[in-house]
């Protein structure tokens, strides 16, 4: 069996008596367009935090490109090609759009710790950041401060910053959250235009968006995987319908 871009094996997390992730065996193939869905409180964001290293699991392992990264801190996982966006915009609000991306690229290239060379003169970092903005169609906002942009535009900057890290695995945590319906198609198009070799995992509420992008879907309920399959299989699955149509499950 080939190595998955990202895998978790028996991943568990509990806070005291509250179990938020239980025995999650998950596999993201290289180049995948995979969605993780589930009702509120299913543990989707917890799962993202466990994978990125923002939380450490109670048990289980996280593998990136076949290598165990469970013990690595967040920053080291990023260096190995794991990038994420946030459900709520988490950007450098007082800096320009261009510099938001340039900071990420500087970190990736390992030049961000340099003390005595002007940042503007670092070889090609700013140019690469600009090219990334052009690819996402937001280059005209390059010199505006992030906090001056409408929320939907900021969502695109989130993606641009993550792309600046040249990831192998990209986790998009509710990329369309807070975006007016009319604009969410821009987000969808942006995600569809991502380089094919990046494995993309989308954590999303918006079923419309999920079915337009994902080729595989995993359904998470109460911290464990309920079912995984193609969009057609998921749409037809009676258990998924039950969860989403809100029929109360016995506690």
């Amino acid at each position: 069996m080939s190595e998955g871009a990202l895998e978790t094996r028996g991943l568990c997390k509990s806070f005291g008596a509250l179990t938020v992730a239980s025995e999650i065996d998950f596999r993201l193939e290289p180049g995948a367009r995979h969605a993780l869905i589930g009702p509120n409180g299913a543990g989707k964001t917890t799962f993202v935090n466990l994978v990125t290293g923002a939380l450490s699991p109670s048990r289980g392992r996280v593998l990136l490109g076949g290598e165990d990264v469970t013990a690595l801190p967040q920053a080291r996982r990023v260096k190995r090609g794991l990038a994420r966006t946030f459900q709520i915009n988490t950007l450098f609000r007082g800096l320009s759009v261009l510099e938001n991306v340039a900071l990420a690229i500087g970190e990736r290239r390992g030049v961000a710790g340099q003390l005595f060379r002007p940042a503007g003169r670092r070889s090609g970092v700013v140019e690469e950041a600009y090219a990334a903005l052009e690819r996402l169609g937001i280059a005209e906002d390059a010199d505006r401060l992030v906090r001056e942009l409408p929320y939907g535009r900021q969502r695109l900057v989130e993606i641009a910053v993550a792309i600046g890290l040249d990831p192998k695995v990209l986790l998009l945590d509710e990329p369309a959250a807070g975006v007016p319906g009319a604009e969410s198609s821009i987000i969808v198009e942006t995600i569809q235009s991502l380089p094919a070799e990046i494995a993309v995992l989308i954590i999303e509420h918006d079923m419309d968006l999920v079915f337009r992008i994902a080729r595989r879907i995993t359904v998470l309920v109460q911290g464990s995987i309920l079912v995984e399959g193609t969009p057609e299989e998921i749409a037809a699955d009676p258990r998924v319908r039950e969860v989403y149509l809100g029929e109360p499950e016995p506690a």
Binding site: A83, T90, L95, A102, V111, G113, F116, R121, A131
Partner: protein
Amino acid sequence: MTTLAEAPATPSAIAALSRRHRLRLSEALPWVIALACFFAFPEYLALGTQILISILFALSLDLILGYGGIVTLGQAAFFGVGAYTAGILAVHGWTEPLSGLVAAGAVAAALGAVTGLILLRTEGLTLLMLTLVVAEMIREGANKAGQWTGGADGLQGVSIAPILGLFRFDIYRRTSYLYALVVLFLAWLVVRAIVHSPFGRSLTGIRESVTRMHAIGSPVLRRLVTAYAIAAALSGVAGALLAQTEQFVSLEVLSFGRSGVVVIMLILGGAGRLYGAFVGVPLYMLAQDQLAEQFPIYWSTGIGLLLIAVALGARGGVLDLWDGALARMRRR
């Protein structure tokens, strides 16, 4: 992820970022004023020297508070340790001033690196309290170590050799003033280079969003500790300058008041903009000097009113007001 092939012209956003570090003519202003004051107010050079030293102290604070977003109420720890290092060396016969500055900077940097490694794992109020605690512990330590520091009586008998063997410290404070000015200028060059460097920009990133910095793979703690140690070194040099020019060190250099006032002076000028120290410190110290002369008893009320006015009307400090006024004029 390659760059664009042959973009027709450099987009303005790229040009703006790559030009930002270049010197502007207006940046000569503080130095022109400082030199002019040397000739215009020869009888005020003692106050002038203290202002220059405090600017250096506030400039070092700007690096961590203004750029890095590290809130601290204990920066006097490094100022004081620098002052005592230079003072104690001089008392024991090492009277050469420049090496004294370097030694003071090195000791303060080491202290900054060690305490930073522990403190900077925390943030917000916890960090604020811990910086205060460290500074108070060091002050009490200096108080108890009387045979070295002179304790509450202060360190007497600090004598400093002429700078480079040429420039004797004179009672008119001409040498002191120019010495402090040259050291401040060199420190400013260093801080200016740092804030425009990739490291400095990543510090700004940490101030804007620590979460995002982690998510782009930045070694946040290492960056913060490095900045903290550099700022500590510069604060230590400022303290050493005070010890060498006053030829006396008292426990006041380690006091909570000094830590607090430097924060106030920086915010008064405007934090995170490199020149806040150059505006806030003279403003505060001249106001204090004038008020103390006019109203020997009630001068602190005047300072208080000044601060209330700034807190209510100019959150970003005087420089922010100035920028706002410039922007309004351009729009007309």
